[in-house]
Amino acid sequence: MRTVRIWFRKIGTTRFISHLDLTRCMSRAIHRAKIPLWYTQGFNPRALLTFALPLSLGVAGERESVDIKLEDDNLSNEELLERLNAAMPDDLPVFAVTDPVMKPGKIAYGSFVMTVDPEGRDAEALAQQLTELFHRDSLVVPKHTKSGFIDFDIRPYLDRVEVCPVEGKVEIRAMLPAGSEMNVNPSLLLEAVQKELGLDLYTQIRRTNLYDEQFHAFQ
């Protein structure tokens, strides 16, 4: 038995599927690719799929990963890549298969690119407005937790946020806490924009990478 890390992108149509659906989708693709998965030895044998860090519904992912356990380790990573890609939907392409280096538990940050549609507004001005907003002393938004909504100040987590106009749109590039310890969902930034500026602008969110505590990219 050996563990391999499958690297994929979740783009286009697949950003609209939930994490649970992604799990099912991935299992089926692996089944189609005839990859010999290792199954648990219990009463109901099942395969183990471990995703590095689930994405919220609607958020695209440029560098996502899932770990699987293989029964037969004669398969090279190159061959796995080829077989998987032939079995994946177009909007869920696999771009690498590697041996895992870091443990998913080490993930501490995620980098996000949020493309805001100014809907007729001047992109430069909007970018300026957003930059000012994210530099306020505090920025309290309602955050959904297990015990209901709480007031949550996101400002302490916005030190690594840049806003700039790009081709008539506005891009928010943000490095935000992500992982099991602390998590700031990028949609909270949009929440702040709506609450403080009264703007409900259509925004596409992409997670571009994951990092550990020292900002080393997740491997």
């Binding site: 286009g12 697949t14 649970l20 099912r24 089944h31 189609r32 939907p89 909007d91």
Partner: protein, 613 residues
Amino acid sequence: MKPELEKILMKVQKPGRYTGGEWNSVVKDKHAVDVRVAFCFPDTYEVGMSHLGMKILYSLFNEKDYIWCERVFAPWVDMEEQMRRNGMELFGLESGDSIHDFDILGFTLQYELSYSNVLNMLDLAHIPLRSADRKGLSPLVVAGGPCTCNPEPLADFVDLFFLGEGEEVDLEVIDLYRAYKKEGRSKEEFLRAAAQIEGVYVPSLYTVTYNEDHTIAAVTPEPGVPATVKKRLMLDMDRSYFPEKFVVPYIEIVHDRTVGEVFRGCIRGCRFCQAGFIYRPVREKSVEVVDRQCHALCDSTGYNEISLSSLSTSDYTKIDELLDQLLSWARDEKTSVSLPSLRVDGFSNELMTKIKSVRKSGLTFAPEAGTQRLRDVINKNVQEDELMKTVNMAFSGGWNTIKLYFMIGLPTETMDDVAGIAELGQKVVNAFYSNPNKPKGRGVSVTLSASSFVPKPFTPFQWEPQDPIPLLHEKQRHLVQSVKTRKITCNYHDADTSFLEAVFARGDRRLCAVLEEAHRMGCKFDGWNDYFSLPRWMEAFEACGVDPAFYANRRRSFDEVLPWDHLDYGIRKEFLIRECQRAYADTTTPNCREACSACGAACFKGGICYEDR
């Protein structure tokens, strides 16, 4: 994906219903095809995507290079609201293009309560509802499926109906359309030509006249149009088209698995069951073909579950052989096999161990009625001791959850028959506790599920009145009060929806106006309890001056002209009358494998009618 769609999707539940792009979905160049077809299922994505008929026809059409068939489902109300607000028309999932400009919109009519969704979907595509208001050849609105055995309540909206199985006739009509489109011919010319194809019913070419008592006087075809339309069917199931690929949805759907179709038709002839008559005669596939089709589908989809589908899978003549064959590879591929429709008398120890071998699921049986007398009336041909033998076998095999399906409101039913349902449940509970091999340390759970009987066309009960709603409610209460133990859970279907189903099942063309009015009043998703409103429907009936009880609760005489009398499903009326009379005499009829009862299906020249008994 189109940007307008992406924007909306963030605002609706389960956006995965509307994205398209699933594995095995077919995308073609729209400029390289002659005919664009929208296969419309008038219910949600999860329901429609589970339907085998759609999977078959989708693949069949798309194998032709000149056809591009896309899938269309009824958007849920939140999505509809967003679409209407943003001026987005109903679109095909594959291209994202509005179906307004498609050549053919094909609806599948699986249940009467989806009719309001048919109109709503046309409306969402900004297509005139009435055939007469659509002057051009396209879009052509067609419909198929079991409900077309009485399509009259939709006669004003649908240009042509397909009767029976669609694998051949659908393509014949598409080919005819393609030729007529190229030649620039009119819709009238096309419909007249299509009406000559066997299995095609063009309602606008028939005139219905009525008597003073509101019954039908006559259905008169225009000159040159066939007086009766006969259903089509596939005689050689081994050679009948079956897809090697299913579209694999991103989101979970109702039946999310490989489906192996083992046969069509049913030998049984339960007198309430429309499917048991309109799909005759029984035609089986061979073990090799079912096995090959299941394996190919598991390979192409990645599903690890196979469901063997038919009206009564334990009646397949080689069921043991088929299971052995499937399990020979399925076990290694961690794939399970399930049998959705088991008969009480078709459950053997051998069968039980085989379906248990990969994964264990609950057991469901349908005795349909609580007493032997009533089971004989409906020709269910299941004996109480068979049920006891079966549940004991299941208990010994480790099961402790049994679900039993019943109907209330069956012809000749008394309150004692209703109480008999609870008594039968009690006997199953008692059987568990007196079984020495029952699972240790666990109690038993028996669910009794009661639906309300809906008389359907082409059954021996097609002349029967449905119990009025208050009587159905009384019977439901009586059932609940008759249950004496907590080991039994009792649930029943809403009588209001069964009433509406009964109206439309045996309705005629005068219901078209009611349907249109109900649509205008906002009726949709009538099969969903959260959306169904009988008071709103009653308003629509009233506004149109139509009495729904005339259709649901009235006993017809054997010589009345029925709205579907000009449609020929091979089943002779004399046979249905004979069966109805036998029902009232508590007499059962042997199944097709035991003896032929001369129903008329032999006219199709194949299937079980010509096998050695």
